[in-house]
């Protein structure tokens, strides 16, 4: 089943946020970049195909299915199954500490809330020190505090050179990105900097609902309630 049609773009580092309504193909796009779905065409990351770029990228799906009996530390171990040594352990703990959830290492998944699981998975993904981070709905299930923490971390990472590709429902983050891709029904409707791409008309058409810009700096878009 072909979900994406005629999608073509180039992104040169920094954050890329992919937005679009449900079913527009955001997840498929991310999975294609991660090399999990078959695609016709070319995906190149730093000149390499996704299969060859595996060791440098981490993928965090929207609905991970983690083994309920697994412990936090084991998740980190599994993510880093390829790397010998214990360097990842240190990174893992540091990221968990940044998110404020160090205690998760010894708890089983089934005792964690969805938000905690997500934080755990993100920390594990980061412990691999990837150059490309693919996140599908990273802020889902997170309360505002944790959302802020995660976004802060992502912003720092972006500044320090990690490329981040993020699919989200939250237009707020789209305006903070370096590049925005707008998908609608499997087609790439717009691609460019947020200033170029994000305007009321485009968004209202894509989301089939009236959207108004209610603030300019930082730009904030909200669906109209009328």
């Amino acid at each position: 089943m072909k979900i994406l049609n005629d999608v073509s773009f180039e992104h040169e580092g920094g954050t890329l946020v992919v937005i679009g309504p449900n079913g527009s193909g955001k997840t498929t796009l991310l999975r294609s970049i991660a090399g999990l779905t078959r695609y016709s065409g070319v995906v190149e990351i730093e000149g390499l195909s996704p299969a060859r770029y595996r060791n440098y990228m981490s993928y965090v799906p929207a609905q991970p299915s983690l083994d309920p009996m697994a412990r936090g530390l084991d998740i980190g171990l599994a993510m880093n199954y390829r790397s010998p040594g214990n360097l990842w352990r240190q990174h893992f703990r540091e990221w968990l500490a940044t998110f404020g959830v160090e205690g998760l290492t010894n708890r089983a998944i089934f005792t964690m809330s969805s938000g905690e699981q997500r934080l755990l998975l993100i920390a594990a993904a980061l412990s691999r020190t990837p150059r490309l981070l693919l996140l599908d709905e990273p802020t889902a299930f997170l309360d505002m505090t944790n959302q802020a923490k995660v976004m802060k971390v992502l912003a720092e990472l972006s500044r320090s050179g990690v490329t981040i590709v993020m699919a989200t429902h939250d237009l707020h983050y789209a305006s903070l990105a370096d590049n925005v891709a707008v998908l609608s029904k499997g087609r790439l409707v717009a691609f460019g900097s947020p200033r170029e791409v994000l305007n009321e008309d485009l968004l209202s058409k894509v989301y089939s609902v009236s959207i108004k810009k209610v603030n300019d700096d930082p730009p904030l878009f909200l669906p109209g309630l009328f």
């Binding site: 999990l36 299969a51 595996r54 299915s65 009996m69 697994a70 412990r71 599994a78 390829r82 089983a108």
Partner: protein, 329 residues
């Protein structure tokens, strides 16, 4: 769980104790650890002791092979499929082995070696068929499970047809089904142990990859793990170890199911820890069951599968009840 560190010392000790008991216990006793030393030191125990000692050592070794193999196979399958209901017979290998044995007896070949070969061939053929069919049908985990279950039923049905025509030879086939280490001969033990050891060594080398199953298929694949191939490989290795054991002593149930369970309770989710723990638990259970099988119906022997099930199942229920709420299962 807090018992972890202590358990690492406890498990081997338990196993050793079980082995000693196995060698010393039995109605024709006055054979035990003392006699072992006597014999080895050349003082020469009376030869009756030597016969019985040798026999008991063989049984104990066979029980350990069975326990280690089934538990390791069960552990690898439970971790791969993330399903606690899975046991090493899921590919239908025991039904295939039983069919092979029954067919041999039906055709009049009742020599022990012939039965061994038939059981091994039956089990491995079933594994090959189930793997092939499930690969053709898509290759997912559930496909394999369903195909294995279907194969089990079909083969058992055919076996029942054959059994009706066996007449007085029926007990031979039926009792093979009950499982026993009483008739293990050294060449068979060595053969089965070799096959099982190779298979389990294979699984052990895949430990790192098996660990990634806990992340879910998506994330695992994104890390470069070929989940479909890995699953199939684990099935094949686990089932061949199981086949080897079933050919040697008939199908012994429950150990492959409960040992990984127990290991998981204590060691959580890391396969690299759970595998050796499950193996030791399985070996201890098997040896203990064999001792019980020898003593309960003296002078006859109880079927090994009956002992493991009748004593094992309540043990499992007890553990379940005791650890209510500590697990999502």
């Amino acid at each position: 769980m807090k018992a972890r560190g202590l358990t690492w010392a406890l498990l081997p000790a338990l196993l050793l104790a079980a082995c000693l008991a196995s060698v010393s216990v039995g109605p024709f006793s006055k054979v035990g650890i003392v006699q072992v030393f006597e014999a080895l030191s050349g003082r020469g125990a009376p030869s009756t002791y030597l016969y019985i000692l040798s026999y008991r050592l063989m049984r104990t070794a066979a029980a350990i092979v069975i326990g280690v193999s089934l538990a390791s196979a069960g552990a690898s399958l439970q971790y791969t499929l993330r399903n606690p209901l899975v046991d090493p017979y899921l590919a239908g290998v025991s039904s295939g082995a039983l069919l092979g044995v029954t067919l041999m007896i039906y055709l009049g070949h009742t020599g022990f070696l012939e039965l061994y070969v038939a059981a091994l061939a039956g089990g491995l053929a079933t594994l090959a068929a189930v793997t092939l069919i499930s690969l053709l049908a898509g290759g997912g985990a559930s496909t394999f499970l369903i195909t294995g279950v279907a194969a089990s039923y079909v083969l058992t049905g055919v076996t029942m047809f054959l059994m009706i025509g066996l007449g007085p030879k029926l007990p031979g086939a039926l009792y093979w089904m009950f499982g026993s280490v009483a008739f293990v001969t050294r060449p068979l033990l060595l053969r089965s142990a070799a096959v099982a050891a190779l298979s389990i060594a294979g699984i052990a080398t895949l430990t790192r990859y098996i660990n990634t199953f806990m992340l879910g298929d998506d994330v695992a694949k994104s890390l470069g793990v070929r989940t479909g191939l890995l699953r199939t490989t684990v099935f094949a290795l686990a089932s061949s170890a199981t086949s080897a054991v079933v050919a040697m002593s008939g199908p012994v149930g429950f150990i492959g199911l409960v040992s990984p369970w127990l290991a998981r309770r204590v060691y959580g989710s890391s396969f690299s820890l759970a595998l050796p723990a499950a193996a030791m638990i399985g070996a201890t259970l098997a040896v203990a069951s064999d001792i019980a099988a020898r003593l309960i119906l003296y002078p006859s022997e109880a079927p090994l599968t009956a002992v493991t099930s009748v004593f094992g199942a309540p043990l499992l229920v007890y553990i379940l009840l005791k650890s209510r709420g500590e697990s999502p299962w």
